[in-house]
Amino acid sequence: MPFRSSVLIPFVLMSTVFFGQIAETVAPDKLVSVTGSVTNSVTREGVQRAHVLLRPTNNPAQQSYGAITGADGKFAVTQLPPGEYVISAEKPGFQAEGGPTNQLKLDAGQKKETVKLVLIPGGAITGRVVDADGQPVESAMVSVPDGGGAMTDDQGRFRIGGLRPGRFKLIATLRILPATGPETRTDGSEQPNYAATYYPGVLEEKAAGHVAVRAGAETSGIEVRLVKTPVVRVAGTVIGIPEGQSGRDWYVQFSTKNNRFAGAQVRPDGTFAAWRVSPGRYLVIARASRGAIQLRTASVQVDVGGANVEGLELKVVAPFELKGLIQYDDDASRPKAASVSAAAPNRGRDTIALQEIAAPQFGRVLRADVNADGTFVIQQVQPGRYVGMPNWGAYVRSMQLGSRRMEGQTLDLSNGANGETLSIAVNAGLAELSGVVRRGEDAAAGESVALARVPADGSMLRSMVTGVEGTFTFRRLPPGSYKLVVVDKDEAVGGWFRKDADDLEGGEEIRVMPGTG
């Protein structure tokens, strides 16, 4: 059915999707209640006027129930239907502390008491942004990795509040709008240009200093000194814009792993130039900013330093159909007989997923059902690089598109498929990696362990928390080289999802041999 990728799918994906269902009426004696308290993690006292919310777990669109805590931090939510809920407390300036108590299963007629919720009072960072001469800088954006940020005032001062305790790398950005080339000046002076700068005054994230924030406390006197850099432009051409579409409707977007952005409008002739791009590594993509059809190019990686980058080429490839065939190395790599249940009609299907990597919308996943003969078809594939992932106990050993063979699980579709069939060799030799984390001689529970492919192939890194014995186990690993690191829990990273081995400091490289599934 060609309608699969239909008119409104983009809006379905981009707007909140929730599962609607009409609430059923519940007999009064079956109604349940939840009472408890909200405590401040630092003072151990009750938090008054906190908002407590119970949301149904399986059905976020269903009615939710709430209450406000009294002066002693106590709350009571009554007359709600039985079921599974997630309970949370919120109050401006506080951060929620996660934990097993946040999931509640309430049986008919149950009166759940003494539910304890903890709020961590947020911390704050205050300071100044100054230029190369030590003068205050107004309207600089100062931000932390989790997305919090503040603009400097006319004294160069900033304050970022409501922060979860931890260690932060601060970045200050001074945007000059519109982002054009250097001003023409005839009075002999020179217009300064400042790059996005990490605290205390460095361009490289790895060299950045940490700012420690304690719960409920303010860390003050943090000064970021902006680094002066030459005005740099990145210029190139978007090739293959279809007839009838003007280049004017196209936009080139630059993004870093840390969600720093730059961009440029494409000129009618397809050329573009982005000015004042801060040093760093960028993914660059061109897309139609309006118009009916979602058209774009694959992303290209660009390293920006102190000199102009010219001649970048971005090629438009229309969304295409990808036909494929799974080739099983042996019987063990075939999917087991699927068990389809009425409760989960979609579970038990054998699907091959292609996850787009190194793209602005990281995490976009295309899925297709694999037929009994191993064939599959994926519609509306956009140009780019993908990681192939079967949903049964196997990994992608290699792929071949036409005559082009690609080792490993990474698939390059930057130029489309050109009508050729993709063959995917899958193998059941998934491995397992387990170990223990110690601090000195003692087993360390609750530590974060991260595992990433080496060299970075775009696949997502995996992380887990050690158990009471300090143990961890990563299951279903494709064989290959990995980097294993114990992560500093206090460091705010702002989302692991775009990180890879290059972002992990220290650690050990491990070669994982094929396992037995």
């Binding site: 059915m1 309608f3 990728s5 008119v7 409104l8 983009p10 809006f11 599962f19 609607g20 509040g161």
Partner: protein, 472 residues
């Protein structure tokens, strides 16, 4: 420097610059004629003002993420602030505090807050979930009941605390109902609600309906709602519901399988046009990804598949040079416009006639002194129905930008009766507001354009004083 009109930006930390508005341009500007030398040009910068305060709820608790906006009592100064409307904007932090900074003057300060949580929550402990209306300082529902904040140059005006007032009626509503004609399949059925006349990503939301077809969409703001059900097997017709003060229950949507539209393009001119016939959906931002085909064959025949139910605008892309769309017949009936309404799944027929005998219209824009308008930021609009005139129109047959030589030209005009309107951003006033734009569009002299005409019409723009003498 080449002659022309320049935006004038003056920057100094802690200072702002403004000048009396020219036309409706919110930016300070300077006009330089050829050979002109502006000497002793004085720019007076003023120390900025700061307005600070907190946004609080009915209990006096701080509200985070409230949007605070200071609207100038008079908008006669072009300050060049980014929003263009002279308003200062900020968001409250976790202490409920905000800080606005900008041009000195008198301001109305307004705070609005919308809970991120779209689902309505039930409270049984006697408290009330926040449902706050936009509130003017100190705690008024309307601008006129609010208190003006007077901010003198250099002043830090603090303590401008706004206590939000509870809204009299709900701000969010629920739409529920059922999708009929759902086949027995695992593919999900989506219900999409678009609020308001025009598509924007932020005013569209969706839900997945149950296997029984029932659906609930919560957190919908008041206004016109266009509701459509979508499934791999087809789409429902768009149902329009206007929500004012109550939820919409029992909305019935029936899935219909996709249609096919086939037809012929008749070209009254040389050769056969190459290109495509496009159908652009009028709901949901004109996205028509599902449509297949549309290519015009050498005999003019075309076929478009996968067309869902709904209204579509018909275009020939690209239009041959100097051509106009003469007529459209849909299922045998002649349409007055170019919008077709696909109501049933059976095949529809479309006959499109285009003619290469479009008229051409060009001319010069002059000031009231008779000088050509050079280097201006001007647009010329060709208006057939002033009631529908829209400054945002991007169709090159409806609006063109004035060239640097002061000339404009429309290359393919459909025969009919028209008026012309010329707007210059620095000289004309009262054009941003849609109603006054329509009034301006209706004021021009009407004239008739016939097939193949080559018309020349020079136009006047109303000219305000264009000196640089604002602070000499």
């Amino acid at each position: 420097m080449p002659a022309g009109t320049y935006m004038l930006v003056a920057q100094l930390r802690g200072f702002v610059y403004g000048q009396p508005r020219r036309g409706e341009i919110p930016f300070p500007a300077v006009v330089l004629k050829t050979g002109e030398k502006l000497g002793d040009f004085k720019l007076d910068m003023m120390p900025r003002v700061v307005i600070m305060g907190r946004v609080l709820d009915q209990s006096g608790d701080p509200i985070q993420y409230a949007e605070v906006e200071a609207e100038p009592a008079s908008n006669r100064i072009a300050t060049g602030n980014l929003s263009g409307d002279g308003k200062l904007r900020a968001q409250t932090d976790e202490r409920g505090m905000y800080r606005l900074s900008g041009f000195p003057g008198k301001y109305y300060v307004k705070a609005s807050w919308r809970d991120n949580d779209d689902t309505r929550e039930i409270r049984t402990d006697g408290t009330v979930a926040g449902n706050y209306a936009p509130t003017y300082y100190p705690s008024a529902a309307g601008k006129d009941d609010g208190t003006l904040v007077d901010a003198a140059p250099g002043a830090d005006v603090s303590g401008i605390d706004i206590r939000l007032i509870q809204s009299a009626k709900p701000l969010r509503f629920t739409i529920s109902g059922i999708v009929r004609g759902l086949p027995d399949s695992n593919d999900p059925c989506h219900v999409i609600v678009q609020t308001g006349e025009k598509y924007q990503l932020t005013n569209t939301q969706s839900t997945i309906c149950g296997r029984d077809g029932k659906f609930v969409v919560r957190g919908v703001p008041a206004g016109l709602q266009r509701i459509v059900a979508q499934h791999s097997s087809g789409l429902s017709a768009v149902t329009e519901v206007r929500i004012d003060s109550a939820d919409a229950t029992d909305v019935q949507l029936t899935l219909k399988s996709n249609a096919e539209v086939a037809g012929k393009l008749v070209f009254e001119g040389e050769g056969t046009p190459k290109g495509k016939i496009r159908l652009t959906a009028l709901i949901s931002g004109g996205v028509d990804r599902s449509l297949g085909g549309g290519e015009i064959a050498s005999d003019g025949l075309f076929r478009i598949t996968g067309v869902p139910m709904g209204e579509f605008e018909v275009t020939v892309d690209p239009m041959p040079e100097h051509s106009f769309l003469k007529s459209i017949q849909f299922n045998g009936a002649t349409l007055s416009g170019r919008v077709v309404n696909i109501e049933s799944s059976r095949a529809s027929s479309l006959q499109i006639v285009i003619s290469s005998k479009a008229a051409q219209l060009s001319g010069m824009l002059r000031t009231k002194e008779g000088e050509p308008l050079l280097n201006a930021l001007a647009m010329v609009f060709l208006v057939d129905d002033s009631e529908k005139a829209d400054i945002g129109v991007r169709d090159p047959q409806r609006s063109v930008q004035l060239g640097n030589d002061g000339r404009y030209s429309f290359k393919a005009v459909r025969p009919g009766k028209y008026r012309l309107l010329a707007i210059d951003a620095f000289r004309s006033t009262n054009f941003s507001d849609p109603a006054s734009f329509k009034k301006l569009a209706a004021a021009g002299e009407e004239f008739e354009v016939k097939e193949g005409d080559q018309l020349k019409r020079d136009l006047l723009v109303s000219t305000a004083e264009r000196t640089n003498a604002i602070s000499k």
